[in-house]
């Protein structure tokens, strides 16, 4: 197995014109560049979505605040939710998958490079379409300039009667367009993993990262399509006078809820399974041990994939369903805790007895483990229908799903950033700043989202733009808003660290972590062709075999 890249003598071309560089990036079909584009694009939207969240928290810092108007507040939470799910976390997940899957399975590119580029640009223009609503949505009605129907856009709020102007149309079209992009990327990831693995890499020897992204892509194919169908129906209703969700003509608003959550809940797993993938790669490397229970991890992931498709209506307990439906969705929701628990124990067992190195990526992963456990526990609480009747649509729910999306998914993504930044840029990040980011963000996160549970328990509903004083919510809301500033400061440190390291950081070398998967066998950043010769592997940790020829893994697997 030849893994050393040829050392090409450095012949830096003397400052090429900016237009050329831009043209190269816009027309690229290279999976690494597209991955980087996804990631940078998502970071931009992370800033926008974060600022929206910050404005909302400032509005709620004290009772009867009038920092923004109620109308603007509605637009803010709609845009915040839509942006964060569809144009931050999804592109981040796809970006890392795009960048890393071919490298990890020893391929030279994705299966369909041009489809890959097409999908990225669909996603990118979907995001622009959403934000173009700020300019274009007014129409002739003077009806407000951004979607304000909430990120799940329940009928009949989206009907022509209640949503004049074009704001809802921009929302629909943005999700439709980016949805096609997501389906394209998912098909690409599926095909790449199934057809382009290097010699010797049977499915059972794939890195867990590839396995988990395979499941994620399968779920995208099955979950985004219902959203696409539902959006088409909404367009028929709005433009062709259809009656799908029009209760006046016998249609049903509940059908929209079902269609949305048939997408919406699998979507949570689409986002969290790649987070599992990051953790499954980072934890073993920094514990200096092979992952514990590889086959069980794969089985648990597939289990989550299946059960995750059948729990959607636990978002709808408060709507009023039959008791049979309630029981079914309570039980399936409880059942999903089992494979998830298996995963948490496997990560703990991987760390158990290992020589743990507390580098920044590992810190974020440990944060992930703790917070994901907490999020899972409040998830089980909300998964019990009677408890949900009490707390549905309260700040408890908001705190719960932010614990999942920020506490688990975003923490894992930050870990992934620090872990693979040396590979993507060729430079080492600053460890001190990385730790500062971790501790600031951890503090801010817990200030915000731990204390957000309490006003929820005390009955504060979500999506209200202000509240009466003297209900016992004031102090908690104040603490929650203070936490946001710590998080924002953490993000500033993060971005500064990445920028500074990219330009001034010391060279990282091809394998700074002494890791075991194939992406570390090529140079940092990898050349356009990835590998000089296509690698051949014998075990799940090909680089371990290479570094320890006397004690290779394949003797034991």
């Amino acid at each position: 197995m030849s893994t050393d890249a040829i050392v090409v003598p450095r012949t830096e071309p003397v400052s090429r014109p900016l237009v050329d560089t831009l043209h190269e990036w816009v027309t690229t079909v290279d999976h690494k560049r597209l991955g980087a584009l996804y990631i940078v694009y998502a970071l931009l939207f992370l800033m926008i979505g974060g600022i929206e969240a910050g404005i909302m928290r400032v509005q709620l810092i004290r009772p009867h605040n009038d920092f923004v108007s109620p109308q603007v507040f509605n637009r803010l939470f709609t845009m915040h939710g839509t942006t964060m799910i569809f144009f931050v976390v999804m592109p981040l997940v796809f970006g890392f998958a795009n960048y890393l899957v071919p490298l990890m399975i020893g391929a030279r590119d994705m299966a369909f490079p041009r489809l890959n580029a097409f999908s990225f640009w669909l996603t990118a223009f979907g995001g622009l379409l959403l934000y173009f609503s700020l300019i274009g949505a007014n129409g002739l009605y003077g009806a407000g300039n951004a979607p304000d129907v909430g990120w799940f856009a329940y009928a009949p709020l989206t009907s022509r009667t209640f949503s004049v102007g074009h704001s809802t149309d921009y929302w629909t079209l943005a999700l439709l367009v980016s949805g096609f992009g997501s389906i394209g990327t998912a098909i690409n990831i599926l095909t790449t993993i199934l057809c382009m693995r290097c010699p010797g890499m049977i499915l059972g020897k794939m890195p867990l990262f590839a396995w988990l992204n395979l499941v994620m892509a399968g779920m995208v194919v099955l979950a985004i399509s219902p959203l696409t169908a539902a959006q088409l129906m909404l367009l028929v209703d709005r433009y062709l006078g259809g009656h799908f969700f029009d209760t006046q003509a016998g249609g049903s608003a509940v059908v929209w809820m079902h269609f949305f959550w048939v997408f919406g809940h699998p979507e949570v797993y689409v986002l969290v399974i790649p987070a599992f993938a990051f953790v499954s790669e980072i934890v073993p490397v920094f514990s200096r041990k092979a992952i514990f229970g590889y086959p069980v991890m794969v089985a648990a992931t597939i289990c989550i994939g299946f059960i995750g498709m059948s729990v959607w209506a636990h978002h709808m307990f408060t709507v009023g369903m039959s008791s049979n439906a309630n029981s079914f969705f309570v039980l399936s929701t409880m059942a999903i805790a089992v494979p998830t628990g298996i995963k948490i124990f496997n990560w703990l067992a991987t760390m158990w007895g290992g020589k743990i190195e507390f580098k920044t990526p590992m810190l974020f992963c440990i944060g992930f483990l703790f917070q994901f456990l907490m999020a899972g526990l409040t998830g089980i609480m909300l998964g019990a229908a009677p408890f949900d009747w009490q707390l549905g649509n309260s700040y408890f729910v908001v705190a719960h799903f932010h614990y999942v999306i920020v506490g688990a998914i975003l923490f894992a993504i930050f870990g992934a950033f620090y872990y693979w930044f040396p590979k993507m840029s060729g430079k080492m990040y600053n460890e001190t700043l990385g730790r500062l980011h971790f501790w600031l963000f951890l503090l801010g996160f817990h200030l915000t989202f731990d204390f957000m549970h309490i006003p929820g328990l005390l009955g504060m509903p979500r999506r209200i733009y202000t509240y009466e004083p003297g209900r016992g919510w004031d102090t908690w809301n104040f603490i929650v808003t203070i936490g946001v500033f710590f998080q924002a400061f953490g993000i500033v440190v993060f971005v500064a660290n990445l920028m500074w390291s990219y330009f001034k950081g010391r060279a990282a070398g091809s394998d700074p972590w002494d890791a075991w998967t194939l992406e570390w066998s090529t140079t940092s950043p990898p050349p356009a062709y990835n590998f000089v010769s296509v690698p051949e592997i014998k075990s799940r940790r090909p680089l371990w075999d290479l570094k320890h020829p006397d004690d290779p893994d394949w003797k034991y697997e």
């Binding site: 219902p226 003509a249 059908v255 269609f259």
Partner: protein
């Protein structure tokens, strides 16, 4: 292509579920029983086109380019006949029975589901015609058999969906 078909199948599933859920829920007429007749002839056309495209792909695999062109053309003709059938049915429904997409729930779900399928047939016909044009120009050879096979998968899928749509709209829904 299988992944694309899975995604498409999920989209159709949602539309079929919506159709079934809304059967008999229209508040005003016309209702399916009054206006729908099962389009037997056109259904047979579409389903037999699955057979002809299979024969065409097989012929190309064996290197018989002329035979391929003939069967391929027949497939397009059968698909075109089916689309003509849909068009004439819609024309009758709109101008004779006064059923449009905004008339009632039946109209909404009927035109959406059948229209979504018709759209897929049209897309299929367009791609088939592109291959036909290339074949006429003599650019399709036996080494393209695999690609033609993959395209024919899509066509088979469109036909299979029609079986479901037909059952739902003309059998269960009436």
């Amino acid at each position: 292509m299988f992944a694309l078909i899975a995604a498409e199948a999920a989209i159709f599933t949602i539309f079929v579920v919506a159709y079934l859920f809304y059967v008999g829920k229209s508040l005003t007429g016309p209702v399916p029983n009054d206006v729908l007749n099962a389009p037997m002839f056109y259904t047979i056309c579409l389903l037999s086109s699955s057979l002809t495209i299979h024969v065409a792909a097989k012929a190309l695999g064996r290197g018989k380019v002329r035979g391929f062109g003939m069967w391929w053309f027949l497939t397009i003709a059968l698909g075109g006949t089916f689309i003509y059938g849909t068009v004439s049915e819609w024309h009758r429904l709109i101008y004779h029975d006064g059923l449009t997409i905004s008339t009632n729930l039946f109209g909404t779900t009927y035109y959406s589901l059948v229209g979504l399928h018709g759209f897929h047939v049209v897309v299929g016909l367009m791609t088939l015609s592109m291959v036909m044009a290339l074949a006429v120009l003599g650019r399709v050879k036996s080494e393209h058999a695999e690609r033609v096979d993959i395209l024919s998968l899509y066509w088979h899928f469109v036909d299979a969906v029609w079986v479901v749509v037909f059952t739902v709209v003309y059998v269960i829904g009436r």
